[in-house]
């Protein structure tokens, strides 16, 4: 029997939401790791019961948890994230050099094929990999070392590596994104990297050909078509049809093109979802109306999805890792808010209802389709 497990990371713990394929009734377990910030949890595509979680705290630093039973029990694994060699400096907010310092793991991306291989995107921005189920972590130093690292500057939330996309068709190809350095691609399994930011335009960066410095919030792809990428930038929704070699804007008729999340329908590669947010200083939906916008044409033409979502007095945010889709026949869409709601749609966004309403602020949402 198929079902869905939704892994929710919040400011004060993790929650695991499960349902059968109908997605009408949900079981809620948690808080796991109560009181800790859970930036992200994710399950292995190769073993649905292997989960990884990033647990952190301003007091006690970083912990990585692993589950082998779908989140019923957890064990701690290695939490040493040590930069390769002499880490050097990146730019601080004021433009001065600042030493690279590990702060936390923002995102965990398990391998598509091996449950023991998992990538970690960290702040200050770097990519680490474990090939032993989290028992040890090693940096892939080619990313920070490719040449522009010393000019990377943090976004308001820090210099975080928040997006990791593994290309299912091109062996060794990966995409990552960093706030506020931009997007990067490797074609050799993480050995060498290059920026892929051509076509991005950002206020405050006068040179439109700037190699780095763009505040990319999130990138998404459909597994069947990994050369097509969709990006929610700080402002602007962007699309690339050539694996990031060039980008063009597809914001179209969105009420605002600021936002954090973006995701792709599980069965329709040109159906994409965003949640427009009013502005970078007003982190809530425009007009107090929480609306998911869907494009069925890969961008430019967008429709508001509102059925079941609050349409007045709503001033929550939806953070960059807080949207996900399942792969059931009728694609399910999920997103979490800083107000603690996790909304679900079992019909591609036509109608929504909250699975839970009163969690701590939601940092991440990952849906697993269970067999």
């Amino acid at each position: 029997m198929s079902g869905v497990r939704v892994l929710v990371g919040t400011r004060k713990g993790a929650f695991v939401l499960t349902s059968d394929g109908k997605r009408k009734h949900w079981d809620v377990s948690g808080p796991h790791f109560a009181g800790w910030e859970i930036y992200h949890l994710k399950g292995s595509p190769a073993d649905q019961n292997r989960l990884y979680a990033s647990q952190s705290s301003g007091w006690f630093g970083q912990i990585i948890q692993r589950s082998n039973d779908g989140g019923k029990t957890w064990e701690t694994v290695d939490n040493r994230f040590v930069y390769d060699g002499v880490p050097g400096t990146h730019q601080w907010y004021d433009g001065t050099p600042h030493p690279w310092e590990f702060k936390r793991v923002w995102h965990l991306e398990p391998s598509l094929t091996d449950p023991d291989t998992v990538y970690a995107g960290v702040e200050d921005a770097a990519l680490f990999r474990s090939t032993d189920g989290g028992a040890s972590w090693h940096e892939l130093p080619g990313l920070r070392g490719h040449g522009s690292g010393s000019s990377w500057q943090p976004g308001a939330g820090g210099l975080g590596l928040h997006t990791i996309l593994l290309d299912p068709k091109h062996s060794g190809r990966m995409f990552i994104a960093i706030s506020a350095a931009g997007a990067f691609r490797t074609d050799d399994g993480g050995g060498t990297w290059r920026p892929i930011n051509r076509g991005l335009k950002s206020e405050g960066i006068p040179n439109p050909a700037a190699e780095v410095g763009h505040c990319v919030h999130r990138i998404a792809m459909h597994r069947s078509r990994p050369d097509v990428l969709f990006m929610q930038k700080h402002w602007d929704v962007m699309r690339s049809d050539d694996a990031g070699e060039s980008w063009h804007e597809v914001s179209g008729n969105l009420p605002t093109d600021f936002g954090f999340v973006i995701d792709v329908h599980a069965h329709e590669p040109d159906t994409i979802y965003v949640v427009p947010i009013k502005s970078d200083s007003e982190h809530y939906p425009p007009d107090g109306k929480l609306r998911v916008y869907r494009s069925r044409s890969g961008g430019d033409e967008w429709e508001a999805l509102t059925n079941g979502l609050p349409q007045r007095d709503c001033y929550v945010n939806v953070l960059r890792d807080a949207m996900s889709v399942d792969a059931l026949d009728s694609c399910g869409i999920y997103f979490g808010t800083t107000g603690g709601q996790v909304y679900a749609s079992a019909d591609s966004g036509e109608s929504w209802s909250p699975i839970v309403r009163d969690l701590p602020a939601v940092l991440s949402v990952e849906a697993q389709t269970l067999q």
Binding site: W59, Q62, V82
Partner: protein
């Protein structure tokens, strides 16, 4: 035996209740206690002091015998009553919001 009081979140992480008791060989210092603590509870590595620099994490403090020892050198001997097990070594999280 050396007695150590951990903050609540680290007790949960280490799966202990109440005080922790440690065997510490030789001179009893902050470093000796933390080395013994991390040997007995490897999950605590990196949560009290940095993995590489071994510096105390900024939002933690060390107290004993009603004294703040946070800024003492890590190899300085701790008060005799701590070494004798009469008083606990306290690892305290900052009372900050969040």
């Amino acid at each position: 035996m050396i007695r150590v009081v951990l903050p609540a979140h680290l007790r949960t992480l280490a799966r202990v209740n109440g005080e922790v008791e440690l065997d510490v060989a030789g001179r009893v210092s902050q470093r000796a206690i933390l080395d013994a603590l991390e040997r007995q509870y490897p999950v605590l590595r990196g949560t009290i002091r940095d993995h590489v620099t071994l510096k105390r994490r900024p939002f933690l403090r060390f107290f004993a015998c009603e004294e703040d020892l946070s800024h003492d050198p890590p190899d300085a001997p701790l008060p005799e009553r701590v070494a004798a097990g009469a008083e606990p070594f306290l690892i305290v999280g900052a009372m900050a919001g969040g």
